[in-house]
């Protein structure tokens, strides 16, 4: 229950505060703008569905990662560093942060899914295709969110933290496809033409990445509490 309390506090800060609402408004605007690109006609077999899918992935992954890392700081939200001195156990802190990341990622994905479905439906597609893509959005943003929570806790310097976090995100999202064409890479797995197994592998990999990130958070909290 203590973990739920941490998650509830985070979500209230991200949705209920003035800054949280401004961020949500900006997020809704960004998603609307990206979805609007999907209305462009298909030309010579090229559909804007692919760039729209990648665009939504970037928007959702950015917001969830930035919120988890404290890059977008919401008033009243407790960072991992603040929770080190709390009576919660290290696992409760990690679990609470994991729940808040998962809840926020679910919320952002849920906001995108109808718009993604709209772009699909415009082309005679079904909701299942959009839901399968949304699962990739959810897993990738959760994975990045987990790692971002750990980096935010482990790296003290704000500049180093930002460079490390966004460097990692850019390398994974943009750099990896330059090295090789992996079907399970998020930029491929989120495409409407991706195979089901590729999406499953991608979702599982990033799910695991999130779990690893939270395990690192737990370890960091536990170590921080040890007397020096």
């Amino acid at each position: 229950m203590n973990a739920v309390a941490i998650a509830r506090g985070d979500l209230r800060a991200r949705l209920g505060t003035r800054k949280g609402r401004v961020v949500q408004l900006a997020f809704a605007g960004a998603v609307w703008l990206v979805a609007l690109l999907g209305v462009a006609p298909d030309r010579e077999g090229e559909s804007p569905l692919a760039p729209v899918s990648v665009g939504l992935l970037v928007v959702v992954a950015y917001l969830v990662t930035a919120s988890a890392a404290g890059e977008i700081a919401f008033p009243g939200e407790k960072a991992v560093a603040d929770l080190v001195d709390s009576p919660f156990s290290a696992w409760q802190v990690a679990l609470g942060k994991g729940l808040s990341t998962a809840g926020f990622a679910l919320l952002c994905t849920a906001a995108c899914w109808p718009l993604l479905w709209f772009v699909h439906a415009l082309r005679g597609g079904s909701w299942e295709g959009a839901a399968s893509q949304a699962a990739v959005l959810l897993a990738v943003s959760w994975g990045f969110g987990g790692v971002a929570t750990w980096i935010a806790a482990a790296v003290d310097s704000e500049v180093s933290r930002s460079v490390l976090l966004w460097g990692l995100v850019v390398v994974v999202l943009a750099g990896a496809p330059l090295v090789g064409s992996w079907a399970w890479h998020p930029a491929h797995a989120v495409l409407p033409s991706a195979d089901g197994w590729a999406r499953a592998v991608c979702a599982a990999s990033f799910g695991l990445l999130g779990v690893v990130g939270l395990w690192l958070v737990q370890r960091h909290v536990a170590r921080s509490r040890q007397p020096r």
Partner: protein
């Protein structure tokens, strides 16, 4: 050993009966509809144009549903379904007629009755074959079929189709596959008002009829073009009309007699843009080499229609932005209201779910906004009968189903890039539903007829053309004998008297050429008033009689 009596288990029997109800094919409970169909003229068809499809429908019980005629095109790669609402009382019989564009000689025309649940409750098919296709078709009502020239003018064979009164179409468009109708016997009591109207409308707009037998002048007054004299003419003088006796015909005023070696053997008269001929001998006695056939058989005319525009797929950004913006705003309001509290999310989530459930409908609406037909067309009015032809062009911006709404039409032809199209004829409109790939082009053409009351008139009088009851007061022009004049109001009429040479390119003239291949001939011999007609995407033409 005591006798073991099995207890009766009515529950088991009921369960078995219920299982039978559930597992039995649902059609067992559907009303069965009897269908009999025939295509073309006495089994003969002409490809590349509209042919009549006649379906006799009967049902023992009351039935309400759809009648579907399915034709294939493009070597079987395209299917077009023509649908009409079907309503029959218990024990009712009804005849339905469609005008179907035929282009595939090897696949049958399928006819189905479908109930509102989509179940097929009656089915039949009519086989087509290349052996029953002709380049030119002559319809004949009588006992002794004529023998026209066997070779059609454009190549291919000419065939005589023996018809009865019941075979005469109810829709003028179905006559498109008939070059000539020869009537030696026509019982007016076996021809209903729709058939009579369709026949006259077809002739008024270019159809050709030969009347060579006794016809009821009261029932078909427009066929009266010659008075028959009693004196028989010796046939020895005639080369082409080999008959023992040829009745002499006296043309009525304004009609043109046809002479062969000094004898009048036929009278030819115009009725609107069409032609009615009266022969003095039974058609069977007119040999294929007779010039009488040349007079009545039409020359092959090139395919009509406007040049295909290059429509570009358009993105309906405004409509999409509004709908998606509304959803994004609703999302923002819901998250603001919920405020991260679970109890409030229990209220906000259903609202968002309901909004999300409407997404396919929104997508459908946006898709429809993206595909507005680029319509061209024109209406020609002759003696108060209008015949409108329209063409619509579209390019699908996305892959998916599209719905196009056309005016109430009597015949529709769909071509282009698609696999399946459904044309639903409704009293007030025609709905075309077609699945298209992204970038696929669609061309749809339709025809519809109308009767104007009062009938607009155009007449030539002292170097001026006067137009009455046109329905508009200005913006019209009149074309006649290579000249054009604007129409100006003069009392209750419009007058065109300021003549100028017809320019090389005039929009109205081009539009008339789309709808009438013989437009230049018409404008040369008859005054034609033209008015812009936004409802048909083109022009309305009122054709006057030849001075």
């Amino acid at each position: 050993m005591p006798e073991v009596r099995r207890k009766p288990r009515p529950g088991l029997a009921w369960g078995f009966a219920a299982a039978l109800v559930v597992l039995s094919p649902s059609s067992a409970w559907a009303v069965q509809v009897g269908l009999q169909a025939r295509v073309g003229w006495d089994g003969w068809v002409k490809y590349g144009t509209w042919n009549p499809v006649v379906v006799d429908v009967s049902a023992a019980e009351e039935f309400q549903g759809w009648l579907e005629v399915e034709v294939t095109q493009e070597f079987g790669t395209q299917r077009v379904q023509l649908r009409a609402p079907l309503q029959l009382p218990a024990g009712g019989r009804r005849r339905w007629q469609f005008a179907a564009w035929l282009s595939d000689a090897r696949r049958p025309v399928r006819v189905r009755a479908v109930d509102p649940a989509g179940r097929v409750v009656g089915e039949t098919e009519v086989g087509l074959s290349p052996e029953r296709a002709a380049a030119s078709l002559v319809g004949y009502l009588g006992d002794e079929p004529p023998v026209p020239p066997r070779q059609a003018e454009g190549g291919g064979s000419r065939v005589v189709a023996r018809l009865s009164e019941e075979d005469l179409p109810h829709r003028p468009s179905a006559y498109a596959s008939l070059d000539l109708l020869v009537l030696e016997r026509l019982d007016p009591t076996r021809v209903n008002a729709d058939q009579r109207d369709a026949l006259e409308t077809w002739v008024l707009h270019g159809g050709r009829v030969v009347a060579s037998g006794p016809l009821d002048p009261e029932a078909f007054p427009w066929m009266r073009i010659g008075r028959e004299a009693t004196a028989a003419v010796p046939a020895t003088d005639l080369v082409s009309v080999r008959a023992d006796a040829v009745q002499r015909l006296v043309p009525e005023p304004g009609r043109r007699p046809v002479l062969e070696r000094g004898r009048i053997v036929a009278v030819v008269g115009a009725h609107g843009l069409g032609q009615v001929a009266r022969w003095a001998v039974p058609a069977a006695r007119v040999p294929p080499t007779s010039p009488l056939w040349l007079l009545v058989l039409p020359r092959p005319q090139p395919q009509q229609g406007p040049p295909e525009p290059q429509p570009r797929a358009k993105a309906p950004l405004g409509t999409a932005a509004a709908w998606l913006g509304a959803y994004a705003l609703l999302w923002f309001l819901a998250t603001s209201f919920a405020d991260g509290r679970l109890s409030r999310w229990l209220v906000a989530a259903p609202v968002l779910l309901v909004a999300a459930a409407g997404i396919p409908a929104v997508a459908d609406q946006v898709r429809q906004a993206a595909t507005v037909l680029d319509v061209r067309g024109g209406r020609v009015v002759v003696d108060g009968r209008g015949w409108a032809r329209g063409w619509g062009f579209a390019v699908a911006p996305y892959r998916g189903p599209y719905t196009y709404t056309l005016p109430a039409a009597s015949a529709v032809w769909v071509s282009g890039q698609f696999e399946e199209a459904t044309v639903t004829f409704q009293p007030d409109r025609t709905v075309l539903r077609v699945w298209q790939e992204a970038g696929a082009r669609l061309r749809v053409s339709w025809e519809r007829m109308e009767r104007l009351d009062p009938a607009p008139t155009v007449r030539w009088e002292q170097e001026a053309v006067l137009v009455r009851d046109a329905g508009v007061r200005a913006e019209g022009l009149v074309v006649f004998r290579g000249r054009v004049s604007n129409l100006e109001p003069a009392g209750a009429e419009l007058v065109g008297r300021r003549w100028a040479a017809l320019p090389a390119s005039l929009e109205a003239v081009e539009a008339l050429r789309w709808v009438r291949a013989d437009a230049d001939t018409i404008m040369e011999v008859r005054p034609v008033a033209a008015f812009p007609d936004p409802s048909s995407g083109g022009w309305r033409f009122i054709v006057g009689p030849a001075p």
